[in-house]
């Protein structure tokens, strides 16, 4: 059990949790405020991270500029999705949003000459002729950060610690902004239209426009999460962007409660602890299984908890029950 307490592992978990906060915050804007059930959010991550990777590796762009453009591409993806399909009924939109992210993933997987295909960013064509990767600029930043943190944190000053600080720092700023946003009259119009589309429309509000905006804002956040994911792992492959990621993010939202921003970090930490913590279960039935099978059992536990939440407490920790059931 002693690796259970190893801080380096938990710092890694928290770094990834930070990314999930940003990703799930996007869902929170879309669902908690806009009432949109978007199951294609992982597609935005794919758009931003691949755009950045290709711009850096194939075209030699500066990482930070490429990241910025990546996020814009994610926003455009959200705009495209919304303009074409947002007028559909909730459950139909949910399905088509999955089709959206799966089409993206499929195309990425099969465009070898451009995206590296199934091998991911390692195989993105580069004028340097070898898999140069995209993180070199970022690593310099990390190194200087580590130098600064070493006096304070000693041996704990690792890359993961820096990532954790960066992701959570960004997440906190974004959460503050989004909280503010959710207290504006813009959000009020969306909350009203979740209950009844006709009332705001009869009062002069173009409900579709507001919904589209919330979808795009959520996509921007998804894009930012994608960038962080890409630099955290230094490599991206199409398999990183499967629909299950979106569902894990939904679980984050459900755990923390979809209606309030403050639920998102709670949900993200809980989910990460759950997913990572089950790695250390050294008792039956885990001990009966091979290590490969244990990984599957951990996902089963996630699935079971998700179902239990839906049965017993769909509003999560901070949510109100009526919020989950009122009109969508």
């Amino acid at each position: 059990m002693n690796s259970f307490l190893a801080p380096s592992f938990w710092i890694f978990v928290m770094a990834v949790a930070g990314i999930y906060v940003i990703f799930a915050l996007g869902l929170q804007i879309q669902y908690g405020v806009g009432g949109i059930m978007n199951f294609g959010q992982v597609g935005m991550m794919a758009l931003s991270s691949y755009t950045m990777a290709i711009l850096v590796i194939t075209y030699g762009w500066n990482l930070y500029l490429a990241a910025f453009v990546g996020v814009i591409v994610a926003a455009l993806g959200g705009a495209f999705l919304g303009l074409t399909t947002l007028r559909l009924r909730g459950d139909y939109f949910a399905i088509v949003s999955i089709a959206f992210s799966e089409i993206l993933r499929y195309v990425i997987n099969n465009s070898d000459g451009f995206t590296g295909g199934a091998q991911g960013s390692l195989a993105i064509p580069s004028p340097k002729g070898y898999s140069a990767g995209y993180t070199s600029t970022f690593e310099k930043l990390i190194h200087s950060m580590i130098d600064q943190l070493q006096p304070i944190f000693g041996s704990w000053a690792t890359r993961n610690l820096c990532m954790m600080i960066i992701t959570w720092g960004t997440a906190i700023i974004l959460m503050l902004l989004v909280s503010r946003l959710e207290r504006t009259s813009w959000a009020r119009v969306l909350r009203a239209s979740r209950e009844d589309d006709n009332v705001p429309a009869a009062l002069g509000k173009n409900v579709f426009k507001y919904r589209l905006q919330s979808l795009i804002l959520g996509s921007v956040l998804g894009g930012i999460a994608g960038i962080f994911w890409a630099v955290q792992y230094s490599i991206i492959t199409p398999d990183d962007f499967q629909t299950s990621i979106t569902f894990f993010a939904w679980m984050v939202i459900i755990l923390g409660g979809a209606t309030a921003v403050r639920g998102v970090p709670v949900g993200a930490v809980l989910f990460s602890l759950l997913y990572a913590g089950t790695r250390f279960f050294n008792f039956p039935p885990f001990t009966w299984l091979s290590s490969v099978d244990r990984a599957y059992l951990r996902v089963i536990i996630i699935g079971v908890i998700l179902i239990l939440l839906m049965l017993k407490r769909p509003q999560g920790f901070f949510g109100k029950r009526e919020e989950m059931n009122l009109g969508q």
Binding site: S185, N198, V199, A201, L203, V207
Partner: protein, 262 residues
Amino acid sequence: MDNNIPDNILTVTSISKAFNGVHAVSDASISIKRGSISSIIGPNGAGKTTLFNLLSGATQADSGTMNFNGIAIERKLSHQIARLGLIRTFQGAKVIKRLSVLENIVLAGQSNPGDDLSNFFFPKKRQRYENQARIDAEALLETIGLTALAHDYAGILSGGQRKLLDLARAMMAKPTLLLLDEPFAGVNPALVEKLLEILMRLKADRDLTLLLVEHDLETVMNISDHVFVMAQGAVIASGEPASIFDNEVVVDAYLGARRHTA
């Protein structure tokens, strides 16, 4: 006649709408004089609500034109029509339960800078509007007598209170033409009195034209300057209340309908 301010605030010409081959509204034409109170009456299924839906943009007409304040609105969407000043209330008074009573009214505020995302970084501008909107909303709340419930969830209101809220909310949207969809339906006589009184008071303070769909013939008789009678999708009579109620065609339409449904 001044060219810039038409005498008729609303002119509907030969408007038609069919659903699955059935004509809900067929070739209907009405004109509403600015500042008047008009009512549409008729048996159930006559097409009154469909006409309202056409006027407010909830449904699109198959043919015909509608002219509001000199602007053609037959192809406009509901929010665009509302912004022009044509506001409607709903049958059954829809309130947003998850918002407070006060917020329901503030929601109706027009040209709210806070609705525009580009103003997110200008909190002072947004706040200034919100403060003024609150004051206006509180005044309306006062008029309808629900000040004590300002911060409660609108879901707790009784049916009659919801009608009052619906009215106040509509007023907040600064209508020049207000469409009231069965405002007195299912309301006890005492509340009808109160609603009427509030309605008249609100109207007196503003340049406001009213168009009601209503079944309560006595009230219609009392308050209307003009009455339209619809039956089977068409406007079968139009004129002052007294002449309408003597009109044989009208009586026939009502009795005929009753014979059908009896």
